[in-house]
């Protein structure tokens, strides 16, 4: 455990403190206590920049379960550090912003605890070398995102958005895990660096395409790429600080990170390159086209985020070609630099735009562009920030968006010349798609500026508009200032952050010495493309009313959302139908299913494998054993005969206590003890429940019903006895108990083997069992409380 590990887990540790502070400190806004956490982490990470860019990656090992290869190995290279700085830096700004945004009446404790969990999860993703841990943190971001979207959980739309994002990102995450396992099968390691080292094995493997598709599913769902982008617009129900942080600056970029991280592994694969390239470009065009139609400010920004992510994704696709063809290829290296640069730029301008959208919402009471207008004089600071950031997004000089956008166009032009594939003839499409997407981007950026701040002052806003308080303005002002600074002096970034990150994507050690310049001369096609984008976009915006009708052709029935809703509806209906057919509400029926299948499959299995039994080394049966067996048999007979429930319960207890005696006779005192105490508690539980049990049903016990039960019980008994005998007769390998006997004192300093296994040798099992135990208790609590509150007591009939 090193300082870096502690830095990663600091937010979660702080979350515990925050939860306690929330309970007792009511006067001060909780955000002030949270703010130092990301700030400290950011400062620490900044201090690592010189080390990483000169000495190379930092690597710190932390063994978690070394035997199966699940370790938390921190690996900080340029790429990871870039993301980590974004996460902690923007995190600090967002927390600051949220202090002004969320009032003290909100459930701030929940909000900040989720946010801090998210920070740890995100840092864990990007500063990690082990794919199993990466998967763990990946799902943790999905969970915290789900919780944050559903922060206002009384609203139906929040629940809908949260569920949608969870279903889609969990689906992707699960697929990604499958991809990791495929990679493990191929390379035999869970470490990403070792996978990169064994890239030859992956090239030769037939399984590689599966890994490519599965991992890309994870990346595409997380980064909201076409056709999985539909969850992101609905995720805008979250509070605006969350949208700015998770759904624009950091979490949705996890997919990009994944693609960048695995570029050295998969770059050889044409499948990888094509999916990323085309997926990214289609997303860019489609989402930017859809952004224009949105009326909700955050809706515009959501689609804009999707399209910008598509842009970066396509750049990474070009970058993958760079790795495949050798990093010397100048063109492709430019693409990777552009991707990294745009990740930074997007975080600055989009974060700021989201915050301004939140300010507008906060100060006017609406986010509808139609209702807003003419706010220029009322909110001059917000206007300036929107102007700077939206123009940066549109790719207008001298802001940072212009620089990366131009690099993007350059890469797209160059790739159409590159001869890399059988499909290279189609590559002329790339610059065209890129330019079309950029034109749409220009149009909606203009719409944002013009629609909100110019035009007639509208008076149907729910609140009287005025400039926001300083607390809300600080964070977006800092981000807007960065937009300008990075735009004017891009090379303060290039040597320190962009180059190391690009080098780790490219998998090279040779320094890139990137110089980002504003002017490339008149021969540069990207320049003319930019001019064309501005001219065409401007014309399109001016005449927007004459072509907006084309959106009407996009009927609701053809949208992906419709597909998702219908899919969800029918899967719910279908599963309800399926369960209604099986779930009768009678416990005895479920027992019949379970034991019926048990008997059936046991018979089928033994039919193929045989069931050899020998009676050679069995012990003699003593008198005390016989007595116990007779007691058990008599109790069983009474249970079957009696009509009284009380007698059944007592007899069941008798069987349990006899079993405990059996354990004692066979010298297993631990088992006997546990059995005894469990028997005591369950018998009491039975007695306690007694009153609540339904009246004995008047179920007609037909011959057929009894006969089925008889067959199944005889079958279960026979199978258990035969399997037990067979298991005892066939020892295929040495029992593990010898190891335990030998090591119980050596390794664990214990005398009682059973307990040492529980708390030490198999401690993980016990931990999980304890967890299950606790969850079960709390689950029963929730069920009982819900039942007491609800008046619907029909369920009691079937207990």
């Amino acid at each position: 455990m090193t300082f870096i590990h502690i830095a990663i887990f600091l937010p979660v540790i702080a979350a515990i403190a925050i939860a306690i502070i929330y309970r007792y400190v009511k006067d001060v806004h909780l955000g002030w206590f949270v703010l130092p956490v990301p700030a400290v982490i950011a400062a620490y990470l900044f201090s690592l920049i010189p080390t990483v860019s000169t000495d190379g990656p930092i690597h710190q090992n932390l063994n978690l379960m070394p035997r199966i290869g699940m370790n938390f190995d921190v690996y900080i290279d340029g790429l990871g550090l870039l993301f980590a700085i974004l996460i902690s830096g923007i995190g600090a700004l967002v927390v600051l912003y949220s202090i002004g945004y969320l009032s003290k009446e909100e459930k701030l404790g929940n909000f900040y605890v989720y946010l801090l969990i998210f920070m740890t999860a995100m840092l864990g993703i990007v500063l990690n070398d082990n794919v199993l841990m990466l998967y763990f943190f990946w799902e943790l971001t999905s969970i915290s995102s789900f919780l944050l979207i559903a922060f206002w959980y009384t609203k139906d739309k929040s629940i809908y958005g949260a569920q949608k994002s969870m279903l889609i990102t969990f689906f992707g995450g699960f697929m990604m895990l499958g991809g990791f396992i495929v990679l493990y099968i191929i390379t035999g390691t869970f470490s990403i660096r070792e996978m990169i080292g064994n890239v030859d094995l992956i090239i030769d493997s037939n399984l590689a395409p599966f890994a490519v598709v599965l991992i890309l599913l994870g990346a595409f769902t997380k980064s909201a790429q076409f056709p999985f982008y539909i969850w992101l617009p609905d995720a805008m129900e979250a509070p605006t600080p969350v949208s700015a942080y998770l759904h624009s600056a950091t979490m949705v970029k996890a997919g990009l990170y994944l693609v960048a991280r695995f570029t050295p592994v998969f770059a050889f694969s044409e499948l990888w390159v094509w999916i990323i390239l085309l997926g990214g470009l289609i997303t860019l065009v489609w989402a930017s086209f859809n952004a224009i139609k949105q009326d909700d400010l955050k809706g515009v920004l959501a689609f804009s985020t999707v399209s910008q992510l598509g842009l970066i994704m396509s750049l990474l696709g070009v970058g993958a070609l760079a790795v495949a063809t050798g990093a010397n290829e100048e063109i492709f290296t430019v693409a990777v630099v552009a991707a990294v640069f745009h990740i930074i730029n997007h975080a600055t301008f989009k974060g700021s735009l989201f915050m301004v959208a939140g300010i507008l919402d906060h100060e006017t009471g609406t986010r509808s562009i139609r209702k807003l207008g003419g706010l220029l004089t009322l909110m001059p600071i917000s206007f300036t920030m929107t102007l700077v950031t939206a123009l940066s997004m549109a790719g207008i000089p001298p802001f940072n968006g212009f620089l990366s956008k131009e690099l993007f166009l350059e890469a797209m032009f160059e790739i159409s010349h590159a001869n890399f594939s059988a499909l290279a003839d189609w590559s002329v499409l790339f610059p065209i798609l890129g330019i079309v997407g950029s034109i749409f981007t220009f149009v909606y950026s203009l719409k944002l500026i013009h629609g909100v701040f110019f035009g007639d002052r509208s008076y149907d806003t729910p609140k009287e508009p005025h400039e926001a308080p300083a607390l809300l303005l600080i964070s977006p002002i800092i981000l807007s200032a960065l937009v300008i600074i990075f735009g004017l002096f891009p090379n303060i970034l290039s040597g320190t952050i962009i180059d190391p990150a690009a080098m780790s994507i490219l998998g090279t050690d040779t320094a890139l010495n990137t110089q980002i310049s504003h002017w490339h001369g008149f021969n540069n096609p990207a320049l003319w493309a930019t001019v064309a984008i501005i001219v065409i976009g401007g014309v399109m915006y001016i005449f927007r009313n004459s072509w907006m009708f084309i959106y009407d052709y996009h009927k609701e029935h053809f949208t992906l959302n419709y597909l998702y809703d219908q899919g969800l509806l029918y899967s719910q209906l279908g599963s309800k139908k399926a369960t209604d057919g099986v779930m009768t509400g009678f416990f005895r029926d479920y027992m019949v299913y379970i034991f019926g299948f048990f008997v059936l499959f046991s018979i089928i299995t033994t039919f193929f494998t045989g069931l050899p039994i020998t009676f050679d080394d069995f012990a003699d049966v003593g008198i005390q054993d016989m007595v116990l067996v007779i007691i058990i048999l008599i109790s069983l007979a009474i249970i079957m005969m009696t009509r009284s429930r009380m007698v059944s319960i007592i007899m069941l207890g008798a069987i349990g206590f006899s079993m405990a005696l059996f354990f004692a006779f066979f010298r297993a005192p631990d088992l006997a003890l546990t059995q005894l105490s469990i028997e005591t508690v369950t018998t009491t539980l039975f007695l306690v429940c007694f009153y609540h049990l339904p009246k004995k049903s008047k179920h007609e016990e037909t011959i057929k019903f009894k006969f089925t039960n008889f067959i199944i019980s005889v079958g279960v008994g026979a199978v258990v006895i035969l399997f037990g005998l067979s298991a005892y007769s066939n020892r295929l390998f040495e029992s593990i108990s010898q190891f335990h006997i030998e090591n119980v004192y050596e390794l664990a300093a214990g005398g009682n083997m059973v307990n040492v296994i529980l708390v030490d040798f198999r401690g993980y099992d016990t931990l999980m069992e304890t967890l299950v135990f606790g969850i079960a208790g709390i689950g029963i609590y929730a069920l009982m409380k819900a039942k007491v509150k609800g008046k619907d007591d029909n369920n009691e009939e079937h207990a």
Partner: protein, 155 residues
């Protein structure tokens, strides 16, 4: 308890109607069982016992009180929130194995040492005990939560 008696024919269960003998002995036996459960728990590493059994025994001690008295009275006797016990137990169960990193060993590699205490002689110190306390608390808390929920359901 209350509900059982109700079903057996008592329409109104009053405290006086319960057996005075079980109430008196219950209080004494409660302490004995509780001490025995602690003994069980501590013996765990060398002799039969451990967190799970100890927890169940501790729970059954309280259950005995629940049988002797009614739910409300036991609540007053032991004013502890069972949720809190579960939470602390789970926290210990996860925190102890994690804290082992400070010894520079992987997750769940328990550490132990022997110290000489005057009078008692050599005593073993083992991090597994702290983990087992977590198990003990979770098991006891959950068992009690369930029993008290089901028992106190109808009022």
């Amino acid at each position: 308890m209350k509900s059982t008696l109700k079903r057996a024919g008592y329409s109104k269960v009053q405290r006086q109607m319960n057996d005075v003998f079980i109430q008196f002995t219950g209080r004494v036996i409660f302490l004995i069982i509780l001490l025995f459960s602690v003994n069980m728990f501590l013996a765990g590493h060398y002799e039969p016992g451990g967190g799970f059994v100890g927890g169940l025994l501790a729970a059954s001690a309280v259950i005995l009180l629940l049988i002797a008295f009614d739910f409300e009275t036991v609540r007053k006797m032991i004013p502890i929130n069972f949720h809190l016990i579960i939470s602390i137990g789970l926290f210990l169960a996860i925190a102890v194995p994690t804290a082992l990193y400070f010894f520079g060993v992987p997750f769940f590699t328990h550490q132990h040492t022997y110290i000489d205490v005057p009078i008692f002689g050599e005593v073993a110190l083992h991090t597994a005990v702290a983990f087992d306390i977590g198990v003990f608390m979770t098991v006891a808390g959950t068992a009690l939560l369930i029993v008290s929920l089901v028992g106190g359901m109808d009022d």
